[in-house]
Amino acid sequence: MRNLKSILSAIAMMALVCSCSSDSDNPVPNPTPTPPAEAFKGVIFATSITNPEGNNGSGYMQALPDMLSGTYDNSNGVPVGFGVSPIPVESGSVYVLPDYMGNAKAEIVRYGIDAAGKWEKKGVLPIPAGAAACNIVELNSEKAYVSLQGLGIVMAFNPATMARLADIDLNSLRQEDTRVAPAAMIIRNGKLFVGLNQMNAQYMPARNNIELAVIDTKTDKVEKHIVNTTLGLCFATRPISPRSIFMDENRDIYINCIGSFGFIPEFHGGIVRIKNGSTDIDPGYSIRCDQTEVSGLPAKYADFFGEVCYGGNGQLYAYANCYLLDPKGMENPYLSLTNIPVVIDLKQKSISVIKGMEISNPQGIAIGRYKNLMVFGSANKKANGFYTYNPATKEVAGPVMQVKGNPTFFHSFAK
């Protein structure tokens, strides 16, 4: 019986991990899932369009019954925040956040999708203006957390009623010359691990520290402030990339550190981990971008990983940002083609370019998993759309779905 329980929980865990969802790592207690008969089994994706002023724009998400090839405009798109991703969770809900840079209704909307792919507004959570909400994880059907970058706060709320439960103030964890901005999060064994971005006035790190906060989900109190200064990496998790903190099959937590977005040579990006049973960063494990050659990349080294998605079996699929790919890379991020799809072997600590995939601009990078395929959203020289990669055959196809605007997000509910 004990063995059976272990096997079942392992299977459940595998299924959750493979879904590439940000909160798919919290098997106990489980949010109430939508009854299978009514569950949506299709795919959802999002695009973004920039306004002429340049500093604002709009995003749209859509649901399809399957990953059907074709060209999709945004006429049926549900508006989502500009600069942030929609966040699907295991319960079947999809959270839509306001614009990351503000000037939008300060509220989080929880959507459900019926079996036919129709969006249903399930509830609205008001948040403070200027909060720069960036990530949500659900603990169970009655408790979830949202990180508010702009305020240094993680807010606990009830997803069923969309009512605020508590504010967990992390501002006391700030460094002397930075402000602390909670970023992507994950729950493991009742502990909420919150990536902390320590940012100066230029949104840049001031020192090579990897920092996380550990919050007890029972008390909503900060239990631990994780600080690692030995691995030479910083900026734990990319705030607008929920998948930048994830668990593998061993329940080891992996963290994508952004460094200085490749701008300051001494602040590096890469991958670190917190092993199962520990609340410290594994001092013996890291994949540093500045020290790990990318096989197939002429420039040899990447700057940081703009987007990642764990595909299971120790394979992490990522967009590696490399400014050297475009002579004007640092000059013009709108037109620069600097993001190249790669696969990272977490066990071997190796990185290889996925051959046949297009190089994208940084605005349209999305990675998701669809059945046995990995899906890459790409805004490249030839097309804007979603491409597929078959890890088994190494075959690349696409764009399977062409879109209007930058493809910023993809998620499949099909198992």
Partner: protein, 781 residues
């Protein structure tokens, strides 16, 4: 600031009133010269007195002003193609004398060659232009923006109450593409500190709104159009003071005094403006569930004083020196947060010299020279160590060093200096041909300093910079068929250079020098043909460039990076219009104007953010095509009632086919440019009657103005579920104005946003509700 204003106000008034004791010694005759049939102003008509020894020429609006010795005299009015008119007058101090000239096709011979230099202004009438006169400047309006907002093809988008930033656009093109001028002189860098809106309406003779083509005489490189505020010409003795008190703690005082010494011909002027406003109206916060709060940190205070000295007998026909000083303090009103401490401040000093001489060493050659220097000290002070939300909750500042705005604190102590000079030389060859040379030069130097911001950013971010621009314009005007046909062709050359330092990326610790030097060419042509006395056709074409501003080119050192490769924006546009204008038998006027326009803006300079919000820069990014139509009708329905209505449809579309640098179809190709109104209309009525309540020398006006802006999207129109839009607004203003003692006293009770409607600008900028104001004005002349 309010305390400071209270302290300064008596001083200013005492200063102004103290000068009233100067005795009157010279007389002035002034007025307008119009066509008897059409009522159209006659620009360039000559007025002479004392057997031709004293003379003047009417301006574009038909206005003239003649300085003479007091006593009896005969004035002679002459204009090509019109019968000469004479008036016998007795003048003590000043006298208005309006004249209507009758056409006389057989009397061309009477017109002497003296008219040729006066023809220079006729070329303007071929351009698409709206002129706002005295009628609109008073009444319900309290500021220039109020008046401009009712002008066909013009959109004014304020972001708050009194003193708030506003965006004026003409036919959809706005901001830096618009030229702002005062008496033909560009405001240029000065517009960073002074808005046209700061000029009291009492001091304005008229406002000219040029659409598409900017007259060559203005200089500079505006390409969307221009707004030129023409201030009043004054009689020898003039004193004008007004005070307005209104809702939201608004107080406005303005005063002007002019005095002319007969013997020396020197005119001395002094004036000032003081504006204070709490702007404490209630506003709904759309982003925060629609809750309503009172604006609590939006006090605006501006005090401005100036003096001028004008000589008319020192070889030049006019030689004028002006000195102006102004001080502004404006709190920053929070919308998302309850901002409690941040404010902007500036102190500026302006000097200006004007020289004018007709027949400058050569008969028919006119010289017009302006030079000015503006010295400014300004900055944002944002040092708060706490932020607050609207529930009163204390939050940490935006950076470890404080601040309520952006991502860093500020304690700006910036200095700027700008030297401008404009030379205009026009030569009238004969009654058919005129040539003109215009040279405009501008040198701007900025010395920003903000040690607090530097500390927060971790590096020195503020560097001095210089920018020089030179615009040379040559124009040729042709007049044929007795003035029925006019054509003005202008060729312009634009040169600019800049010198600064900039941190290009974070990986560069030392700033790199940025030096740029470029030149471009542009041209325009405008023609007019009068089919009949009442009906004329206007057509124009232009292909012009706009030089990037210093911020666009060299950034600001901390949040906007330099873009030395930036190209100027270029427009190609055309306008065709029909104007019908008739003076009725009872003297009333009927005017209908229809214009169609087309414009293509290439290499549009856009603000583009980076992966990191503080690494934005300007880029040439886009191409916008505008098509539109404007219709305006106005007239005196009967001697008591004047009505006007106008409508504008302007369709701005993104015409980039592909995303730059790719083969990918532009997702917004063919779509309407968002956040620009496209359907606007205005309507108004004025009921006026002299001596309504008996007595003499009284006039009563009842005014009503309505303004409609159709809803428009904040983002590109993509989805049927899109919600972010600026809602339709219909605002109504009304006023009752009563003047007595021949306009010496005027009392005005005005209400703006009569219905107290909720009006929002820029998606999330709530505008004031109902405003009630009372204004009293005393005018002595």
């Amino acid at each position: 600031m309010a305390r400071a204003g209270r302290k300064w106000l008596p001083v200013l008034l005492a200063w102004l009133f103290g000068t009233l004791t100067v005795a009157a010694q010279e007389a002035v005759v002034y007025g307008t010269i119009t066509d008897e049939k059409t009522g159209e102003p006659l620009a360039g008509a000559s007025v002479s007195a004392v057997e031709g020894r004293v003379g003047a020429v009417s301006d574009a609006g038909g206005c003239y002003r003649l300085r003479i010795q007091a006593g009896r005299m005969q004035l002679t009015f002459q204009y090509m193609g019109y019968k000469t008119a004479r008036r016998d007058l007795t003048v003590h101090d000043s006298l208005r004398c309006d004249v209507r000239l009758r056409t006389a096709e057989n009397e061309l011979g009477e017109v002497t060659v003296t008219a040729r230099s006066e023809m220079r202004r006729l070329k303007e009438s071929a351009m698409p232009i709206s002129v706002i006169g005295q009628r609109q400047l008073q009444g319900t309006a309290s500021s220039i923006n109020d008046v401009l907002a009712r002008t066909v093809g013009v959109t004014v988008r304020n972001t708050g109450g009194m003193g708030s930033a506003s965006r004026i656009s003409v036919r959809g093109l706005e901001g830096k593409r618009m030229g702002m001028y005062v008496d033909d002189a560009p405001m240029s860098q000065l517009s960073n500190f002074v808005a046209l809106n700061d000029i009291p309406t009492n001091m304005i003779e008229r406002i000219e709104v040029y659409k598409g083509i900017v007259p060559y005489k203005f200089g500079g490189s505006a390409l969307g159009g221009a707004v030129n505020v023409v201030t009043k010409e004054y009689p020898p003795v003039y004193f004008d003071v007004s005070y307005e008190i209104g809702s939201f703690g608004t107080h406005q005082v303005s005063a002007v005094m002019k005095r002319t010494d007969r013997r020396s011909g020197l005119q001395f002027g002094i004036g000032g403006v003081c504006t204070l406003a709490k702007n404490n109206y209630r506003m709904a916060l759309d982003n925060l569930g629609g809750r309503t709060v009172e604006r609590n940190h939006d006090r605006f205070g501006k005090i401005m004083g100036g003096m001028s000295l004008k000589a008319t007998k020192w070889w030049f026909d006019e030689m004028k020196l002006e000195l102006v000083a102004m001080k502004t303090r404006q709190e920053i009103q929070g919308i998302d947060f309850d901002v409690r401490e941040a404010y902007n401040h500036s102190v500026n000093y302006i000097t200006a010299l004007t020289l004018k001489r007709r027949n400058f060493f050569l008969d028919g050659l006119d010289l017009d020279f302006d030079a000015g220097y503006v010295a400014g000290r300004y900055g944002l002070r944002d040092k708060a160590m706490h932020r607050y939300d609207w529930d009163g909750r204390e939050l940490p500042p935006v950076s470890a060093f404080g601040g309520e705005q952006n991502s860093f604190p500020s304690d700006g102590r910036n200095r700027s200096g700008e030297l401008t000079a404009k030379l205009n030389m026009g030569y009238t060859v004969d009654m058919h041909h005129t040539v003109n040379l215009n040279i405009y030069a501008d040198r701007t130097s900025l010395h920003p300093s903000d040690s607090l911001m530097d500390r927060a950013l971790g590096f020195r971010s503020n560097f001095p910079s210089r920018m020089n621009t030179l615009t040379v314009g040559f124009s040729y005007d042709l007049t044929l068929f007795g003035g029925r046909f006019q054509n003005a062709f202008t060729l312009k050359s634009f040169l600019f250079s800049s010198d600064s330092r900039s941190i290009d990326t974070y990986s560069v610790n030392e700033p790199e020098p940025v030096r740029v030097s470029k030149n471009y060419l542009g041209f325009s042509d405008a023609l007019r043909y009068k089919f009949t006395d009442d009906l004329m056709l206007k057509a124009s074409f232009n292909s012009e460039v706009r030089i990037p501003t210093s911020e666009e080119l060299i950034g600001n050192g901390y949040s906007i990076l330099a873009s030395p490769a930036l190209k100027p924006e270029r427009t190609t546009g055309a306008n065709v219009g029909l104007l019908y204008r008739r003076v009725k038998a009872d003297g009333g006027l009927v005017e209908v104007e229809l214009n169609g326009f087309y414009n293509q803006l290439e290499d549009m300079i856009r603000f583009t953010p980076d992966m990191i919000p503080t690494m934005a820069r300007y880029r040439n990014f886009g191409s916008v095509r505008t098509k539109g139509v404007e219709l305006e009708a106005k007239g005196d329905v009967c001697p008591l009632l004047y009505l006007y209505a106008n409508g504008t449809y302007q369709d701005l579309r993104d015409v980039r086919k592909t995303i730059p640098g790719t083969e990918v179809e532009n997702p917004t190709h063919g779509m309407r440019i968002p956040n620009v109104p496209y359907l606007l209309a205005n309507f108004g009525a004025e009921l006026h009657r002299e001596n309504l309540f008996g007595g003499r020398g009284q006039n009563t006006r009842l005014l009503f103005d309505a303004s409609y802006v159709h809803r428009y999207f904040y983002d590109f129109e993509m989805s049927k579920y899109q919600e972010r839009r600026i809602p339709t607004s219909l605002t109504m203003d009304a006023a009752v104005e009563h003047s007595f003692d021949n306009d010496r006293w005027t009392l005005t009770l005005k209400m703006r946003n009569l219905a107290g409607r909720r009006v929002v600008s820029e998606l999330n900028r709530p505008l004031p509700g109902r405003y009630v104001g009372f204004k009293v004005r005393y005018l002595f002349k």
